[in-house]
C-alpha cells in the first residue's frame, strides 16, 4: 500500500519556534503530526473554531494550552496581551515626548496642488 501525503503550508510567526523547528530537519512532519494527534484526542475541531470565532488567535492558543496541560498547573497566558504590553513600553514614552514637544504649525491646505 502506498502512503499518500497531503502537503500543507504552515507559516510560523514565532521566530524562536521557527528556529527550533528548523533544527528538526526531516522530523517536521512526524513532530507536527504527533502533536496534532494528541491535540485531536483532547479536543474537537469545532471547539478550536469556536475559540477562534470568539477570541481570535489568542483564544485558540489559550484553548490548546488549557487542553494540553490540564492538571499540570500551567496557567494559560494571553500571548496577544503580553505582546502588546511589552511593545507599549517604549512608544508610551515616545507619545509623551511628542506631547511635550513644541507644536509645529503648517499651512496644510497650501501643500495641496
Amino acid at each position: 500500500m502506498s502512503l499518500e501525503y497531503k502537503a500543507i503550508t504552515v507559516k510560523l510567526r514565532n521566530k524562536e519556534v521557527y528556529k527550533k523547528y528548523r533544527l528538526l530537519f526531516r522530523l517536521g512532519r512526524v513532530v507536527i503530526e504527533s502533536l496534532l494527534e494528541i491535540l485531536f484526542e483532547k479536543t474537537e475541531v469545532v471547539e478550536l473554531q469556536n475559540a477562534f470565532l470568539s477570541d481570535g488567535e489568542s483564544g485558540v492558543k489559550e484553548l490548546i494550552r488549557a487542553k494540553m496541560f490540564t492538571g499540570q498547573n500551567i496557567e494559560p497566558t494571553n500571548s496577544k496581551e503580553a505582546f502588546i504590553k511589552q511593545e507599549e513600553v517604549l512608544p508610551k514614552v515616545q507619545e509623551l515626548e511628542q506631547k511635550t514637544k513644541p507644536k509645529l504649525k503648517s499651512d496644510m491646505q497650501g501643500f495641496w496642488g
Binding site: 500543507i8 507599549e88 514637544k101
Partner: protein, 296 residues
C-alpha cells in the same frame, strides 16, 4: 487616544503608532481555493482578500494597484488588515500625493467604511516634515525629497512667522527606486538573461539582496547594484536640481526620506538629513500630526 499614522505607498504600506512600527507590501489578491493554504484573510463586507506578503501564495488572483485611483479604492482593505492585527484606533492619519486632492473625499469615505475612527487625510510630504522638524533643527527652509517605489516627490518648504509653508512641489513619475532596479537590469550581461525577463517586483527583491540563487548557485550582483545606484543617484540629483532650480540652490537643508533613501548617501545632497528608518518617516510624521492635533 490611539493614533495611527498610515502611509500607503505603491511599494509598501507603513504603520506607526504606540507599540507599532510595521510595514507590508501594498499588494492584495483574492484568496486561493485551497482550504489547507494558511493565509491571513481580510474580510470586507463578506468579500475576502489576501494582503501583503501572503499574496505570493495567490499570485493568479492578484489585483494590481497601478494608480492612485486603485490605491484609494483598495485603501480600506489595507486599513482593515492593520486594524485586524493591531485593534481599534481613535484617529487614523494618512496622506495622498499633493496633486490628488480631488480623491480626499472618496478616500475618507472608503476608510470610514471599515473604522469608526476619525480620519485625517493630509498632503504627503507633511508627514516627513513633521517627523524631521520635530526632532532636528532644519533651519527655516528645506527641500524634502521622498524617494518611493515609482515616484519621487520633492517639496520645497519654508518657515515664515513660525508657520511652515510650501514654496514649490514636484512629482517625478518613474524616478523612484524601481528606476535603479531597471538600470541594473539593463547592465546585466547576457549570461544572466533569465533575470532580464523577471517581473519588476521579483527583481526588486534581488536588487535589495544584491544577490540571486539560480539552480542552487548563488550569484553575486553587488557590483551591478552599486553601479546602478551611483548612476541612479546622479540622474535623480540632476533632475531634481533642474526641476527645483533656485529652491534647491539656496536651501538650508535637504531631507531625503522614503525607502529609496537607504540607497542615497548624504554625500550626494550636501547638508542632507536622512531620518532614522527613512521608509517610516512619513508614517511617523502622520502620527506626530495626529498626536499634536489631539493636543489642540
Amino acid at each position: 487616544m490611539r493614533v495611527l499614522g498610515l502611509d500607503i505607498g505603491f511599494g509598501h504600506t507603513k504603520c506607526y503608532s504606540e507599540g507599532i512600527k510595521f510595514k507590508f507590501p501594498t499588494q492584495l489578491a483574492y484568496p486561493p481555493d485551497d482550504p489547507n493554504m494558511e493565509v491571513e484573510r481580510v474580510n470586507i463586507g463578506g468579500r475576502e482578500y489576501v494582503v501583503g506578503r501572503d499574496t505570493k501564495y495567490a499570485s493568479s488572483y492578484r489585483i494590481e494597484i497601478p494608480t492612485v485611483i486603485e490605491l484609494v479604492q483598495y485603501a480600506p482593505v489595507f486599513l482593515k488588515y492593520v486594524l485586524d492585527k493591531f485593534g481599534k484606533f481613535d484617529l487614523v492619519v494618512t496622506g495622498l500625493p499633493p496633486n490628488a486632492k480631488s480623491h480626499v473625499s472618496s478616500l475618507n469615505s472608503n476608510l470610514k467604511s471599515v473604522t469608526d475612527a476619525e480620519v485625517l487625510i493630509i498632503p504627503q510630504g507633511i508627514g516627513i516634515l513633521y517627523d524631521v522638524a520635530s526632532t532636528t533643527d532644519i533651519g527655516d527652509d528645506a527641500v524634502i525629497i521622498d524617494i518611493g517605489y515609482n515616484t519621487v516627490d520633492c517639496i520645497a518648504v519654508e518657515k515664515s512667522e513660525d508657520v511652515w509653508k510650501k514654496k514649490r512641489g514636484i512629482t517625478l513619475e518613474n524616478f523612484g527606486i524601481m528606476k535603479a532596479v531597471e538600470i541594473m537590469r539593463e547592465m546585466l550581461p547576457e549570461k544572466y538573461g533569465l533575470l532580464k525577463n523577471w517581473s519588476a517586483s521579483c527583481l526588486l527583491e534581488t536588487f535589495e539582496r544584491g544577490a540571486v540563487s539560480i539552480d542552487g548557485e548563488k550569484i553575486d550582483l553587488g557590483a551591478y547594484k552599486n553601479e546602478a545606484i551611483q548612476r541612479y543617484v546622479e540622474i535623480l540629483l540632476t533632475k531634481t536640481k533642474q526641476e527645483l532650480k533656485d529652491s534647491f540652490r539656496d536651501v538650508a537643508t535637504v531631507v531625503v526620506a522614503g525607502g529609496g533613501a537607504y540607497y542615497v548617501g548624504k554625500k550626494y545632497f550636501g547638508q542632507g538629513v536622512i531620518p532614522e528608518e527613512p521608509e517610516f518617516s512619513q508614517a511617523r510624521g502622520y502620527y506626530v500630526v495626529g498626536i499634536q492635533s489631539n493636543n489642540g
